[in-house]
């Protein structure tokens, strides 16, 4: 299993789009489950040291995934993903938003429309995700918040290095 898996990440500031393609070494139905079943999503969706913790999941058109990103110091950021369209093992469309623990959407935080396409790539599966933002500011804010998470990762890394000394 030393073959490299395809990965492409582009930010299109003209059209307010983040476009992410990634290949996975598994068949389409397995990868589909990883993206649509909360018990599996919780295992990988947030980058360490963050964790995702599902409060409720209703994967059907009009249903929503309500979960918290839990930080290393117990801080919580709640997200609500509303599923708009589902074609099993092919694609789903969803609206991604921030909110609170009661499931209220925060209209002041960035929101985006997600399109997730699943296709075969030989024995593997290609997942093509498109995140469409209403304006550039919301795209930039999302990226800036990601940067904050990146910093947390960096701090953990620093802790590890310091611990070794």
């Amino acid at each position: 299993m030393s073959t490299t898996l395809f990965f492409d990440f582009t930010v299109d500031k003209q059209n307010n789009i983040i476009d992410i393609k990634r290949e996975f070494a598994a068949d389409r139905s397995t990868v589909w489950d990883c993206y649509t079943k909360s018990e599996i999503l919780d295992k990988w969706w947030m980058p360490l040291p963050w964790k995702s913790r599902t409060k409720s999941m209703d994967f059907r058109e009009g249903g929503r995934w309500h979960y918290a990103a839990v930080g290393p110091n117990g801080e919580e950021h709640w997200s609500i993903t509303t599923y708009v369209k589902i074609e099993p093992q092919k694609l789903f469309l969803a609206n991604d938003a921030f909110g609170d623990s009661d499931g209220n959407i925060n209209a002041l935080m960035p929101q985006s429309k997600w399109t997730m396409n699943f296709s075969d790539r030989g024995k593997n599966t290609l997942v093509h995700g498109i995140m469409q933002f209403p304006d550039l500011a919301q795209l930039e804010q999302t990226i800036a918040m990601g940067f904050k998470e990146g910093l947390t990762m960096a701090m953990e890394n620093l802790d590890a290095i310091l611990a070794k000394r």
Binding site: T30, V31, C34, A137, L151
Partner: protein, 127 residues
Amino acid sequence: MRNRIVAHIFATDWLRKKLNNMRRDIFQAIADPTRRAIITLIALQAMTPNAIAENFHTTRQAISKHLRILAECEVVKQEQRGREIYYQLEVNKLKEMDKWIEQFRKIWETRFDQLDKVLSTIKKQKK
């Protein structure tokens, strides 16, 4: 893996610099919609606080406060011209945005690495 280490080193260094001077960060600068609008406005030309305030339905005091935060984040610089102070965008600072994109990409990489592990566990269970 090497990329991620480089990113960590970069971010750690960035963090250390931030902690050293304890200034506000650029994240705070764009966290507010009015400040984002001010950034867009002065991106084209240097302006006085009065001229900036004319573009908003808010008090001159409120605009001054936003300008102060932007200056503390080093997103804008002030220039004295006669009796007037002009505010101008610090273009280099906004280039940090591109570095953020790189960080954001790293987060997705980490996420996908985690999914790779989950998938290999599932495969083993099936066998």
